[in-house]
Symmetry: C2
Subunit: 214 residues, 2 copies
């Protein structure tokens, strides 16, 4: 079910902005060339066996350039710029909607974006997350950034202090839960429907462990 391709990116016409020059376009191309090269090489030889030099060679740039675009090797496979989107999505929800419903809705939206975009990449990413400790670590780092964003959102929404222990703990427990959900999904070879797993996760977060074993 890969519907919902309605809201495309709003007009990439060149006349849209006067300053989308050749430079910007080349940068984007380079960035994607590096990522594409990395994905290909990692699938061919595995993550550890893939060196920066190889990536640079296949992407037809110098090794220096690779580091100019990505601070670490892990970042090449992990770019998630969803945070601002999620935040927007949260802000767009009616203010009187219960928080748990907002969360559920927003997460499903995020999944549509992230997975529809390229399911293969999502799978590779979660797979690497399970296999390669360095990637997993980097992923946790980036998710804890998402956690801080969540704190802000909760603060705006409920008037609570976003820096209070309670809000921070709540946000990070959610992040930890979702992290584990991704691992579970990948460990079971992506057989489950990820959205369904997320729903079960949110159930646990709302109501605790179910009393019956399944």
């Amino acid at each position: 079910m890969t519907g919902m391709t309605a809201a495309r990116t709003p007009s990439t016409s060149p006349a849209d902005r006067p300053h989308v020059g050749l430079r910007e376009r080349k940068k984007i191309k380079t960035r994607e060339a590096i990522r594409a090269a990395t994905y290909a090489l990692v699938e061919e030889q595995g993550y550890d066996a893939t060196t920066i030099d190889q990536i640079a060679e296949r992407a037809e740039v110098s090794p220096s350039t690779v580091f100019r675009y990505f601070p670490t090797k892990e970042d090449i496979v992990l770019t998630d710029e969803y945070d601002p989107l999620i935040l927007e999505e949260i802000r767009a929800r009616p203010a009187d909607e219960p928080w748990s419903e907002t969360m559920r809705y927003v997460l499903h939206r995020a999944l549509e974006f992230g997975m529809d975009d390229d399911l293969a990449v999502s799978r590779l990413r979660t797979h690497l997350m399970v296999q390669v400790p360095a990637v997993r670590s980097r992923m946790m780092e980036s998710m804890s950034a998402t956690g801080r964003m969540l704190c802000e959102a909760i603060g705006e929404r409920t008037g609570r202090d976003p820096d209070s222990l309670e809000v921070r703990v709540y946000a990070m427990s959610l992040i930890g839960a979702l992290m584990e959900t991704s691992m579970y999904w990948a460990e079971n070879d992506h057989r489950d429907d990820f959205a369904a797993l997320v729903d079960r996760t949110l159930d646990v977060m709302e109501h605790g462990l179910p009393h019956e074993n399944r």
Copy 2:
């Protein structure tokens, strides 16, 4: 030939066990020399500025030996061997005790052990956790190992499948929460009473965010 093992006194007398030879003792000494050297150097110059060579020199071993004792630099400052202790502690609780109370009790016990042991080291560790991404990452890794242990414990205790999504999600959300609690403590310069923070954390995990802001 056999060293006559006398009565069961858990004393550390040398004749107690025949096989705690000079070799074992030296290994322990080396291990602690490396750690002590690292702590000292890190407090003098900071984590990143401290190299393995410096550590080796101050501990009076070769750099090779440092890596023989610790797989990574982060591990030198992060050895937490508490997991088995915690597991034992959980198993020792009465089977009909509510899980949340068990958790609360066990965590407080773990704090007594970990903090009383050497408060200064606990502070340095959590401080590094906030400051140095690599240390934080490594810490998260080791805490996720604790999470898997928790899954086992929950399985034993409640008869649930320890590999089920629900149990794993619950365990990891707890781990994430406690991680954030540590960060909060360190970020506020260890001014709060850590045990009290843990209690507030467990409250959030049990009852969700409080409705009133504090």
